[in-house]
């Protein structure tokens, strides 16, 4: 079954501290993974995708197929990073269904 697991509902860190938001997935094929961010009362926005190996707003994420993980990291958290973060997987065959994890709320404390 296709599944995305984000084990932490809430993660609180102090400004300037490193951040790691965990994401594990279950998918039998070759998955494509994304991180989305949702600021308060706004739409979900793409943060980054594994295929482009980019760094956006200081965030990076590496696909680890052995551990089936796609953790989101940032070395120094900023207050404006406070938001909901969703890890998502898309099945690349068939219906292009995007499956989202339950989300992690990141609170960056001053």
């Amino acid at each position: 079954a296709q599944r995305v697991t984000q084990p932490e509902k809430l993660l609180s860190v102090f400004k300037g501290a490193p951040v790691e938001l965990k994401c594990n997935y279950s998918y039998s094929g070759s998955p494509e993974l994304f991180w989305y961010v949702q600021y308060s009362r706004q739409r979900l926005q793409l943060l980054l995708r594994h295929i482009s190996r980019e760094s956006i707003k200081g965030f990076t994420a590496d696909l680890n197929k052995g551990e089936t993980s796609f953790h989101l990291k940032k070395p120094f958290a900023q207050e404006e990073d406070s938001a909901m973060y969703y890890c998502a997987l898309v099945a690349t065959s068939g219906t292009y269904k995007y499956i989202f994890g339950t989300g992690t709320r990141l609170k960056v404390l001053a």
Binding site: E32, R43, A88, T95, Y96
Partner: protein
């Protein structure tokens, strides 16, 4: 940059009434979706639509729900007889399917069923 748009931003209705939520996907996109987010909960897949037909739907998407692309630009979600538990944020999304291409979300319609 093109965006997915949705109307209305907030819809209040009485239980048992029909509602239609409207979306305009990004113009060259081919896959269209509806997702739901009950307050404080996760983003749940409802339905995907491709080539003028439903390609996949979830268990939530029962006979009370229907989708339509009435013309070349709009994509609608109809709930025939709303229930209290239908109160949620409904997000439309679209994508041009291809390797590494993400899904783009609209701003959402907040549906409140009284």
């Amino acid at each position: 940059e093109p965006e997915v748009t949705q109307t209305p931003s907030h819809q209040v209705t009485q239980m048992g009434q029909e509602v239609i939520l409207r979306c305009v996907p990004i113009s060259n996109h081919l896959y269209f979706y509806w997702y739901r987010q009950i307050l404080g909960q996760k983003v749940e897949f409802l339905v995907s639509f491709y080539n003028n037909e439903i390609s996949e739907k979830s268990e939530i998407f029962d006979d009370q729900f229907s989708v339509e692309r009435p013309d070349g630009s709009n994509f609608t979600l109809k709930i025939r007889s709303t229930k209290l538990e239908d109160s949620a944020m409904y997000f439309c999304a679209s994508t041009l399917p291809g390797r590494g291409l993400p899904i783009f979300f609209g701003p959402g319609t907040r549906l409140t069923v009284l």
